[in-house]
Symmetry: C2
Subunit: 198 residues, 2 copies
Amino acid sequence: MYEGAVQELIDELGRLPGIGPKSAQRIAFHILEADPEDMKRLSGAITNVKERVKFCTICGNVSEQETCNICRDPRRDPSAICVVEESKDVLAIERTRSFKGRYHVLGGAINPIGGVGPEQLRIRELLNRLSDGQIQEIIIATDPNLEGEATATYLARMLKTIGITVTRLASGLPVGGDLEYADEVTLGRAFEGRRSLT
Amino acid sequence: MYEGAVQELIDELGRLPGIGPKSAQRIAFHILEADPEDMKRLSGAITNVKERVKFCTICGNVSEQETCNICRDPRRDPSAICVVEESKDVLAIERTRSFKGRYHVLGGAINPIGGVGPEQLRIRELLNRLSDGQIQEIIIATDPNLEGEATATYLARMLKTIGITVTRLASGLPVGGDLEYADEVTLGRAFEGRRSLT
């Protein structure tokens, strides 16, 4: 064990996701030897995020104001909502520049083993957004894994009764990938979703 | 790009060793969603380490006082010094409980490509410690890699002239390992260093 402050820092770092004891130690020593100004910026950035960043009251995305940049932007198409699991998914989709509507961040996916049911997700907030009749399409962009699929199925069933178009992002071969390395489920999905070229 | 504070935190985290852009993003979102008290402790631990932790004026190990716990401990054997590259090596050796002397932390190893020569290491401080004639053995415990070996050779040559016993930790097969998986250099060292069992 190190003396007080070093060990405390190693312990705190070790609680972060993906940081094992060895990494925590390496990072702690880096911090110890780094420029004090840089480290002031790091601890300041942590404090800042906790103080300044909230979640958009409309879509649940991270935001430094009551509502996020996207929800406030009048140029965004008000008739389409893309439903994602996490804020980072919003960023990933924004990078593609292929969606001009708004988002809804669920805050996770249905995962009975992990104790996450529909009531833990921001589904009620989504329904509230549909009440004004402006929304015409809900695009479900949850992850293409077990939890994401379960969430998509749940939402699709629930939204069907309201009469809004519900779509799901296509599954298939990753662009630039090699067919022979694709797993069988992905390849199967690619077959199911095949499109006419003629 | 995220809004201000989140992106700033991702940037600062991404500068830490072994944290790539994806990890930085994952950790930033963890911090965002974590308990504010826990995160206050994390940023406090960083500030604390920078404010409170110094380096022992005798051995160069991390310490919250002028001299470290080990250098201050009167029960430690004053006739032996174990020379290591980094503070973390002190901890690794302390865990074995097989060394009762004191340490000397060089602050790295000789690495001409990385621009680290003997003058960048705490070698002068080591020589100063030898001047009182109390030291009888120097155990060189630098890493068993190219830079560590170069440093060991350099120190051994320099110390030879003073007439102090200089030893080097044994290289050989890791205990619990499989002979067939040992690399050839390690296996070669294990042969060179073979001991009589009779």
